[in-house]
């Protein structure tokens, strides 16, 4: 009987014992105390936080917030001690590290420690130089920004010395700058001479590569222009060269090749002509065709919006004083020429000859023909020119001659 009672009671007892045991091992609220006293670590060294508690069973989680992430760590209670090993990915990065010990959904202890850059690892340097080109002068500068880090890509502490060096011609300048907010920086001012400047940095024996910045000449100052030509005659064929003086900036540097110069030409009749040229070694040479009549060109050069030249006058003399013409084939063919030039030579081919046809002082038509071997021919075909009389005006090379009234036979 007793045995039966025992057998039936035993499972119950076991059950209750188990329940109590579970209740006992349940994570009872316990107080935790941080045992780790160190609150500053060097990046790259293992970090562990140890908590002590009176309870031999209580466990907790550690929630951590870091510059680059957040995570949750777990640990075992070993004889009243909880050790949380911070994952290596967090140990290598610097910054303030917040931790929150969480037990039973509550933060029971929280705190922070700090990880500092590892100065025993080789320094790495990241550099930014900009703008990459400058103008000459004292007010322009390029900025060198250096970001020294340790081998784990952690920016160095404030006040890390960085040497910023620049070379220009014979001059080499070295400046020591201290980092602040990750960076050491320097404004490197331009020079009055154009050329290439090299910039580099150095920190803890780590040197950067060589950075190059171009010092470009400033916008040019006013300049002068001149002209040269084969002869002074308005033959409509030769070319006059317009040439600037060497265009320099205010520091005497020759302006950059390719600086566009516009030559503006004003004729006697106030007609505006333009020609362009880009500078090479500071000089721009533009070309202009000789006029085909007596003319005076007023020329001025501009670098648009930046500089201008003096104004020069170029006179062109008329090539001829007069020319011959004759009517043949019942006045239906008009031959102009041969037109002779300044040395009595026949003018170059392509000289324009204009024929204006009048009937009773009314302009009926203008015809233009270019000379070939000094001669221009006009044909007045009977079916088109049916009137009995016409008068003509012939112009070439700035000379105009009016003919007598010519009679025509009509059918």
């Amino acid at each position: 009987m007793m045995k039966k009672v025992l057998y039936s009671a035993l499972p119950f007892c076991c059950f209750f014992l188990f329940v109590f045991a579970v209740a006992k091992t349940n994570n009872a609220d316990a107080t935790f105390r941080l045992q780790t006293t160190q609150n500053s670590f060097t990046a790259g060294t293992p970090i562990a936080l140890t908590f002590a508690t009176a309870s031999k069973t209580a466990t907790a989680h550690l929630f951590v917030i870091h510059s680059y992430g957040k995570t949750l760590l777990t640990s075992q209670n070993i004889n009243g001690q909880l050790v949380f090993h911070i994952p290596a990915i967090y140990c290598i990065k610097t910054g303030d590290f917040s931790w929150f010990l969480i037990q039973n959904n509550k933060t029971v202890v929280s705190g922070t420690f700090v990880t500092t850059p590892n100065n025993t690892t080789p320094t790495l340097l990241e550099n930014y130089l900009g703008p990459p080109s400058l103008l000459t002068g004292t007010e322009h500068f390029t900025m060198m920004v250096a970001i020294p880090t340790d081998s784990y890509d952690n920016p160095k502490d404030n006040n890390t010395a960085v040497y910023i060096k620049d070379q220009f011609l014979e001059n080499i300048t070295t400046t020591e700058k201290k980092t602040d907010f990750f960076i050491a920086w320097k404004n490197i001012y331009s020079r009055t001479k154009s050329g290439k400047m090299l910039v580099s940095t150095e920190c803890n024996n780590t040197a950067s590569k060589e950075f190059e910045t171009d010092i470009q000449p400033s916008p040019g100052k006013n300049f002068t222009i001149n002209y040269s030509r084969n002869h002074k005659y308005a033959d409509g064929n030769q070319i006059t060269l317009l040439e600037t003086s060497i265009i320099r900036d205010s520091y005497g540097n020759i302006v950059g090749d390719g600086t566009m110069v516009t030559f503006q030409v004003v004729t006697t009749n106030d007609i505006l002509l333009k020609t362009y040229a880009a500078t090479i070694n500071g000089i721009a040479i533009a070309q202009i065709l000789h006029p085909d009549h007596n003319e005076t060109f007023t020329v001025k050069g501009y670098v648009t919006g930046i500089a201008e030249s003096n104004s020069i006058k170029i006179d062109y003399l008329a090539l001829i004083k007069t020319f011959n013409y004759e009517f043949t084939e019942g006045n239906r063919k008009i031959t102009v020429g041969p037109v002779r030039s300044f040395m009595n030579q026949i003018v170059p081919d392509g000289i324009k000859v204009e024929l204006k046809i009048y009937h009773k002082n009314n302009l009926i038509e203008s015809k233009i023909v270019e000379t070939a071997k000094g001669i221009a021919n006009f044909y007045l075909l009977a079916p088109f020119y049916k009137e009995k009389e016409y008068q003509f005006e012939i112009s070439t090379l700035g000379i105009t001659q009016k003919t007598a009234i010519k009679k025509y036979e009509t059918n």
Partner: protein
């Protein structure tokens, strides 16, 4: 010859099938062409497309833009701020989903590795962390001459996070830290190059002068320092129930209603602003104009207003926190000096969302919202319209007065109200109460306009005896009630339509006599 013979049928079928085949071939070819052209749109190469929706809008306040290098341009600052917030957003999303999507757009090549490692670790350990930041106070330190590099200190970033392991919520943690940040401009994106977490700095005290009309002292609400008992009513215009600021908004209707309210010896109205209706994070200016009209009317008629925010909002997830903060901020800061407003009611009956939206979530949302509203409008009181007196003790220390809605048997009124006053030591307002006059098949002819009048008569007697602040539900019977308010079934809806003191034809019901005391 018969037209319909086999031959013609074959012919027709042949022609038809030819047409159908042609049609499908052309459609197929068009589809293929279409497919081959996807991604070939040149405008997409330059990241010119803009995000159409704001997803993350924590408060950002640049405290300082002076720096030793280049002057910050307004345009660049906007872009920088946008990209910086996106860097937080993609980081938050990555920690929540353990997916690195978007990180390479907002972190440089070296920097993103750190985040990938974190994500990998958390994924392996099944840790997910929901985050949001509440506030940023960036202080520009350096903007390089070539406009490609910035360094700034983001002071006192308030971060709020919910930590899950194996999908179980472990805890929530709020932390404040300062971050030193370097960003580089790379192919059109400002990308984070370095982040350094640092200790938070002491907050600077807000020194804005406060000019409140309504204040609270012990268990009393004061208006210009003399005790003020709210005798109020919940108000919707008759034809725009739950849609005060909708298409039917009419100044004259509201003015006439306010006259009725004022003449009935009431001094306060309660209005409702719907989160979606007002444009969520991007407030719709027309709605604000309507709100101003209604508040100005109230001021002119010498009525105080309790404005209930966030009606029909029930998300509460961390993703929407910053958006709701901007919503509230824009509204309350616009009207922070308005004399008509007595209080901002943060949310109507938030405790009804406890079950579906997680109580902790709802409470922490309310808690932060209370802070946001107080910061942006220190002049007006705040309260939360709990649906019963038991839940009304939640966040009692964050509100200026306690509001609860009483729809119980009226013999419990004094007990519940007095208990609340005793436990919270704050003024208590019975912000809603009432009975419908609806008697019909759906409630077995339980109520009638006479029973409603008798109810209000007795309630007013209680209020008068105890000098309780009250706000009855509601001025009008409503011809239309939206489905999402009470439900779509007639036994739910009809009841809700008949709470008014004035019926839908504009005739005073017997209860109107007992609208106030």
């Amino acid at each position: 010859m018969r037209l319909i013979n086999n031959r013609n049928i074959y012919r027709a079928a042949l022609i038809l099938s030819f047409l159908v085949i042609c049609m499908f071939t052309l459609l197929g070819l068009a589809k293929i062409m279409d497919y081959l052209n996807t991604g070939a749109d040149r405008s997409t190469m330059l990241h010119l497309e803009t995000e159409s929706e704001d997803v993350y809008l924590p408060k950002v306040n640049w405290t300082n833009l002076a720096n030793p290098a280049r002057d910050m341009e307004k345009n660049t600052l906007g872009k920088l701020q946008r990209d910086y917030l996106f860097s937080w957003y993609v980081k938050n999303t990555a920690l929540k989903t353990n997916n690195s999507e978007g990180i390479d757009d907002y972190y440089t090549a070296n920097t993103r590795l750190n985040l990938y490692r974190t994500i990998k670790y958390n994924k392996e350990h099944q840790i997910t962390i929901e985050n949001t930041t509440i506030k940023h106070f960036p202080d520009l330190q350096f903007y390089s001459e070539d406009g490609q590099l910035v360094v700034f200190t983001d002071k006192n970033v308030i971060e709020y996070q919910k930590i899950y392991q194996n999908k179980q919520l472990l805890t929530t943690v709020q932390d404040t830290a300062t971050y030193k940040v370097m960003m580089l401009l790379e192919d059109g994106f400002w990308r984070v190059r370095h982040v350094l977490k640092m200790k938070a700095e002491p907050f600077t005290k807000d020194t804005t002068a406060v000019h409140p009309v309504f204040t609270v002292k012990n268990e009393h609400i004061l208006k210009n320092n003399s005790p003020y008992t709210i005798k109020g009513i919940n108000y919707y215009p008759k034809n725009s129930a739950w849609d005060t600021f909708g298409e039917l908004f009419n100044k004259d209707t509201i003015a006439a209603d306010f006259d009725i309210i004022k003449k009935a010896n009431l001094n306060t109205v309660r209005l409702f602003i719907q989160y979606g209706d007002f444009g969520k994070a991007m407030i719709v200016p027309e709605k604000m104009a309507k709100l101003k009209t209604i508040l100005d009317l109230a001021e002119a008629k010498n009525l105080a207003v309790i404005v209930t925010l966030f009606d029909f909002y029930s998300d509460y997830t961390l993703d929407s926190w910053t958006l709701t903060h901007r919503h509230a901020e824009q509204i309350v800061s616009t009207f922070k000096d308005h004399k008509a407003i007595l209080a901002w009611d943060l949310k109507n009956e938030p405790n009804l969302d406890f079950e579906n939206r997680d109580k902790g979530n709802v409470l922490s949302w309310l808690d932060h919202m209370a802070t946001v509203i107080k910061e942006n409008d220190p002049n007006h009181l705040i309260t939360i319209g709990w649906s019963n007196s038991v839940e009304a003790t939640n966040l009692a220390d964050k509100v200026d007065f306690i509001s609860y809605h009483f729809y119980n048997d009226m013999k419990h009124l004094e007990y519940e109200t007095n208990l609340l006053v005793k436990t919270t030591k704050k003024p208590v307002v019975i912000e809603e109460f009432g009975v419908p006059s609806y008697g019909g098949i759906w409630n077995f002819w339980e109520s009638s306009i006479e029973k409603q009048a008798a109810y209000h008569q007795k309630m007013q007697a209680y209020f008068k005896k105890n000098n309780y602040s009250f706000m009855s539900w509601t001025l009008y019977d409503f011809p239309h009630v939206p489905d999402q308010v009470a439900g779509r079934w007639p036994w739910q809806k009809n009841r809700q339509k008949k709470f008014g003191f004035i019926d839908d034809k504009g005739i005073n019901k017997p209860a109107f006599k007992y609208i106030s005391n």
